[in-house]
């Protein structure tokens, strides 16, 4: 996995970036220098592995106190213990369900609104400015208000995730629809397409790259929203585990939860990429399979 995979799991500005992918030309140059793709893959793992080894050594020789940074091996043992005898799996499940529900609720509302605004100038006039104004608020700044509305129960968590998910999907859906080549829409008219065919054959496929970009960004924000929401008054979930462990200075558990958040972020991003490759096989920047 390249560095780009990791950075994408951090919150980024919620706009569609140009779809050009990682630097292919320098990679090709390296290959000419004698490094095959396998060697490059191994090399890319060298630095992170080295970092873990250094941590382990520093912890083992006692240079770093265990409550500051636990040895990686200790974290692994804790993971095993919590998974077999503790609540780790149940907490993980709770977190995943929250993320999924929030993602589905926020995502579908935003997608529907995005379609509406993308198609109708009237809907745009009615909806778009308000959405853009709300978007200017860093959504985590709404946290106190959300707690007043929902308390610290499941509602608050799902609402926060949904809110975080909604903006990237809304923006990229409207953007995608706007950016569909007008020449292709004109072609649809020439070929005598009905409105329904026009949407299904030309507009949605044309907007899909942008929509999927929105999905990827929203996965990152969903995750961020969940971390924050779970840190506040949760009774279960990964965030709860972390807060609970903090009380007892169980740094190993805290680090474990951080690692889990990171892993799930990476998995979610990979899934989104897989979806892109599948749905955008035709696209020169995503496909490759169709060559």
């Amino acid at each position: 996995m390249s560095n780009a995979d990791h950075t994408a799991t951090f919150p980024l500005p919620a706009v569609a970036r140009p779809v050009a992918k990682t630097a292919a030309a320098p990679a090709a140059a390296l290959r000419r220098a004698g490094l095959g793709p396998r060697q490059l893959l191994l090399l890319s793992w060298a630095a992170p592995v080295l970092l873990v080894v250094v941590c382990e050594v520093l912890a083992q020789v006692g240079y770093v106190a265990p409550h500051v940074l636990p040895a990686p091996s200790k974290v692994v043992r804790t993971a095993y213990k919590l998974a077999t005898s503790g609540t780790l799996l149940a907490d993980l499940g709770t977190s995943l369900v929250r993320a999924a529900v929030g993602f589905l609720v926020g995502g579908s509302i935003a997608f529907a609104l995005g379609i509406l605004v993308g198609f109708s100038r009237l809907a745009e006039a009615l909806v778009d400015r308000s959405v853009q104004m709300v978007r200017a608020i860093p959504f985590l700044a709404l946290l106190p208000l959300v707690i007043v509305w929902f308390g610290v129960g499941e509602g608050q968590k799902i609402f926060l995730v949904a809110l975080g998910v909604a903006f990237p999907i809304y923006i990229n859906t409207t953007l995608g629809i706007r950016q569909v080549d007008p020449k292709l829409i004109e072609l649809g008219r020439v070929q005598g397409l009905s409105t329904r065919q026009m949407i299904s054959r030309i507009i949605l496929p044309g907007a899909l790259p942008s929509i999927l970009t929105g999905v990827r960004y929203s996965l990152a924000t969903a995750w961020l929203a969940l971390v924050v929401a779970e840190t506040i008054g949760a009774q279960a979930g990964i965030g709860f585990l972390a807060m609970d462990a903090r009380e007892f200075l169980r740094t190993d558990v805290v680090v474990l939860t951080i690692v889990i958040y990171a892993l799930i972020g990476v998995v979610a991003d990979s899934l989104a990429r897989l979806l892109e490759r599948r749905l955008l096989a035709w696209h020169p920047n995503f496909g490759g399979a169709a060559r």
Partner: protein, 237 residues
């Protein structure tokens, strides 16, 4: 005019008194034009004289400011760019707008006709410029149009490919016999393909050429170039 075209009474398209203006700028000024069924008409004219405007009006893509257009409800159009949908396979592109039933078979037959029979499931991005334009041609002809409108469809192709396209288009038109309006910059192209050559200037058809006898070219190069305002034709010297 060729004999079969004379025999067909109702024209493929008839334009009377057509006027079209962009703001104060009158681009088409009371223009008359008739295209018979099965007739291949080429339209020449210097850049910006209103050829595309006329073609788009015939296609029903733009509103008009005056006059009358009698044309089939859905003429087929091939644009200068191929306008293939990048997300659809070639057969899906060709069958765009056809009823679902039998669409693949019809698309296959049309692709076969333009020499791309084996590539039904290929993507547009894997095509060369000439191949893409052939798919666009197949997409137009699969609709069995009464009127085929071509707006400089070969302008972006290299000279060799263009000549191959001329042969192909001529054969296809002879088989399907739509009325054709070909907008072009290329005098040679007009001479090679058309039954009738029109020159547009100042918003109207300023000159019209028919072959003096069947099988002969409608006009010679020097005459057309002179009418297009090209004074110093290097190759004629």
């Amino acid at each position: 005019m060729t004999a079969p075209a004379l025999a067909e009474a109702k024209p493929a398209a008839r334009v009377t008194d057509l006027t079209r203006a962009y703001g104060d700028r009158v681009v088409i000024d009371r223009l008359d034009l008739t295209i018979q069924r099965g007739e291949f008409v080429a339209l020449l004219g210097e850049s910006g004289c209103g050829k595309t405007t006329l073609l788009r009006a015939l296609a029903g893509l733009d509103p008009i400011d005056g006059g009358r257009i009698e044309a089939p409800r859905r003429p087929a159009v091939v644009f200068q760019e191929h306008r293939l949908l990048p997300w659809d396979s070639l057969w899906r592109n060709v069958s765009l707008g056809l009823p679902e039933r039998g669409a693949r078979e019809r698309a296959a037959a049309a692709l076969e006709e333009v020499g791309l029979g084996g590539r039904l499931d290929d993507w547009p991005r894997n095509l060369s410029g000439g191949q893409a334009q052939r798919v666009a041609l197949a997409r137009a002809l699969v609709q069995e149009p009464e009127l085929l409108l071509l707006d400089e469809p070969f302008a972006a192709l290299d000279a060799l490919t263009r000549i191959r396209m001329h042969v192909l288009v001529k054969a296809l038109v002879a088989r399907h016999r739509p009325g054709v309006l070909l907008v072009t910059h290329d005098v040679e192209e007009a001479i090679a393909l058309a039954d009738r050559i029109l020159v547009m200037r100042a918003g109207v058809i300023a000159a019209e050429h028919r072959p003096p006898a069947p099988g002969q070219p409608a006009a010679d190069r020097a005459t057309l170039l002179a009418e297009l305002g090209v004074e110093n034709d290097l190759s004629a010297a």
